[in-house]
């Protein structure tokens, strides 16, 4: 009886584990060398940053990636190496821009934020008043009211359209979907102008914050329609038919079976839609005049909102005014971040 020697067992090759020393050296050199050379050259010849990046670093990186890929897989690897470097470079540009935005917001915005800034208004505050006085409480309140009205209008109507598009099969469906989605390209300023022409010029509504809400509602509607339609489509048809087979009327089948199944998706939809309009500035510039003091009545008088608060302080060129604008921008970004994180967190629970 012969026994198999251990060397005779077939061994899985596991090519991904195959990291020879040559390979590792090639990879390390390919990633470290161009950076080092660029750094030294830029210091020696004082090459400006952009040129160092574009005309020295990028070609060097392409070259070294090609050489290392020749070392690892042979000539066929060159195109792959170039592709990888180019893609990482392009991704890096966008991440750097976004990172710059967030970092400068945090650094400059925090200077202007304090506890009192969150609840005080800016009544009697001028562009040279120190940051110890005044704040953006009125703007936060105003944004909450204006956006709140827009959201309470947009969510029921948007969901109703979503219901129509998923629960019925009328021949108009395609046209309704197409035209309501073409509204998603509606420029925000045009939405403001439309509300101005439709409600104000015709004398239907006096100048008031609610005009801004209606403009924001128009901007939010297509998002809610599309997302809610997607969410309702995800609910399996079997659930609907089971409810109907048990004798439920269509509306009961919807509200007691389909809607609960889609609930977490709908919540995500609402939060994302709100995040999209909370910072809209252009329609508010057209429709709602900034007011430095607090006004809680959306049906009469001017009202402050965070975007117009930022917009107003940006008109001045003093340091204090600029810092107030940065503070407003950071507050707005934090609000968006909260909505966004909530949406991601709640949206993870799949239906």
């Amino acid at each position: 009886m012969t026994t198999l020697q251990s060397s005779e067992f077939p061994v899985a090759s596991m090519p991904w584990r195959n990291r020879s020393r040559k390979k590792i050296v090639a990879i390390v050199l390919a990633s470290a060398a161009p950076l080092a050379i660029t750094f030294v050259l830029a210091k020696m010849y004082e090459i400006p940053g952009l040129f160092a990046l574009l005309l020295v670093f990028l070609p060097l990186q392409l070259l070294s990636a090609s050489i290392s890929s020749i070392a690892i897989v042979g000539r066929r690897g060159i195109a792959d190496a170039i592709l990888s470097v180019a893609i990482l470079f392009l991704v890096g540009i966008m991440v750097a821009l976004l990172g710059s935005t967030v970092v400068s917001l945090l650094i400059r915005g925090f200077k202007a934020l304090s506890i009192h800034a969150l609840y005080q208004n800016s009544f009697t505050i001028t562009s040279i008043t120190s940051l110890d006085y005044g704040g953006l409480g009125h703007a936060i309140l105003g944004t909450t009211i204006i956006v709140g009205i827009a959201v309470t209008l947009a969510i029921p109507i948007g969901i109703a359209v979503g219901i129509f598009l998923t629960e019925t099969r009328s021949p108009m469906n395609a046209a309704i979907r197409f035209l309501s989605q073409s509204l998603s390209g509606l420029p925000s300023i045009v939405s403001g102008l439309f509300v101005f022409a439709f409600l104000f010029l015709t004398g239907l509504v006096q100048r008031a914050a609610v005009l801004g809400s209606i403009a924001l509602f128009l901007l939010m509607l297509p998002t809610i329609i599309r997302l809610s339609e997607d969410v309702f489509k995800l609910v399996p048809q079997e659930l609907r038919f089971a409810a109907l087979a048990l004798g439920a009327p269509r509306h009961k089948a919807f509200f007691q079976v389909v809607f609960p199944a889609a609930r977490s998706g709908i919540i995500t939809t609402c939060l994302l839609g709100t995040a999209r309009i909370i910072g809209e500035t252009a329609p508010l510039i057209v429709l709602v005049t900034y007011l430095p003091s607090t006004n809680v009545n959306p049906f009469s008088g001017d009202m402050a909102a965070l975007p117009t608060y930022i917009y107003t302080w940006l008109k001045y060129s003093t340091d204090f005014a600029n810092q107030r604008a940065w503070g407003g921008a950071l507050t707005l970004m934090i609000l968006v971040g909260i909505l966004f994180t909530m949406a991601r967190y709640l949206g993870r629970k799949k239906i």
């Binding site: 592709l83 976004l98 359209v161 099969r169």
Partner: protein, 318 residues
């Protein structure tokens, strides 16, 4: 039984009973409201600006003067500027978006891909006023430096001239800002389309000895091409309509400018916001007319984009 046959069964239901009638009645009203909004917007904006179109005639689109005192309103430089800035934006945003989409779908480990997707979605939620303040204080000086450098070496080529030595407020900077706003839109569409490419097709290409590069160029991109084009057009619509972010980085001037480094340019949407505050009654009507022009342009772009997208989605599904 597959999904389609269920939908056919669905047709047979009749709406009876008060509850159902109310349920479908309300949703039908909402749907027709959403349907009619586009027409409402076009009708009311055109009605409010009819005076301007009558007074100015065709010169409204082809002339280059805007003067509230003389009552002359012409938007040609702004039209050209809008298109120029958006094209610069697309030139930057399209490759970046496709790269991000390819990176998240094919290169990055799942966790990094998810993180990057979240980051780009957050970018989509960045309010334009936040981009505006960052753009005017942080980015514009840096980008003006880039423009100056590029101009030093490319200045002799037509389109890259700068005669004023003033680099702030150029279409180049506005284009970058627009690229930041377009990227999330194009990326999300491109990711969907690149992700929808049949994985068997990709595996087959690899099995035949294709490299990553040849697979991308010969399999992935051609299959996803239609959808990506639609996404790029959606981004174009976004760029044409962007108001506040461009307002702060572009020096608006009623002179036709095709040189991307020259320190002035035009764009319709920010022009409306900039002139709206102190416009006379006729001026407001002219601004509404500019709004109509802008809306019709973006509407056409969005229409084409949606048609392309839904066609390529159908093709992908079959």
């Amino acid at each position: 039984m597959d999904h389609k046959s269920y939908e056919m069964v669905n047709l047979k239901f009749k709406v009876t009973g008060r509850g159902d009638k109310l349920f479908f009645g309300v949703s039908r009203i909402a749907a027709y409201f959403a349907f009619s909004l586009v027409f409402l917007i076009v009708i009311f904006l055109s009605r409010a600006s009819a005076g301007t179109f009558k007074d100015q005639g065709l010169a409204f689109f082809t002339g280059s003067t805007w003067s509230d005192q003389d009552g002359i309103y012409q938007i040609f430089p702004m039209l050209v500027g809008s298109v120029l800035c958006s094209l610069i934006g697309l030139f930057i945003a399209a490759p970046i978006s496709i790269a991000i989409a390819y990176f998240t779908e094919y290169m990055a480990p799942p966790r990094l891909a998810r993180a990057l997707t979240n980051i780009i979605d957050l970018l989509a939620a960045l309010p334009s006023i936040v981009i505006a303040i960052w753009g005017s204080f942080v980015f514009a000086p840096v980008a003006a430096g880039w423009a100056q450098l590029l101009h030093k070496y490319l200045g002799s080529i037509p389109g890259f001239k700068n005669t004023s030595e003033q680099f702030l407020g150029s279409p180049f900077i506005a284009g970058w800002i627009l690229a930041i706003m377009m990227t999330p839109i194009i990326t999300s569409v491109a990711r969907e389309m690149i992700g929808a490419v049949d994985k068997d097709l990709v595996s087959a290409a690899y099995a035949l000895g294709g490299t990553k590069f040849s697979t991308m160029r010969r399999v992935v991109l051609p299959t996803a091409k239609g959808g990506i084009t639609g996404g790029i057009l959606l981004g174009l619509g976004r760029g044409l309509g962007e108001t506040v972010a461009v307002l702060y980085v572009l020096n608006l001037l009623f002179v036709v400018n095709l040189d991307i480094f020259e320190g002035h340019g035009g764009s319709i949407a920010p022009m409306i916001a900039a002139y709206y505050g102190e416009a006379s009654e006729k001026g407001v009507s002219a601004l509404l007319a500019a709004g109509v022009a802008l809306f019709l342009i973006t509407l056409v772009v969005t229409f084409v984009a949606q048609t392309i997208l839904s066609r390529s989605e159908r093709k992908m599904a079959s």
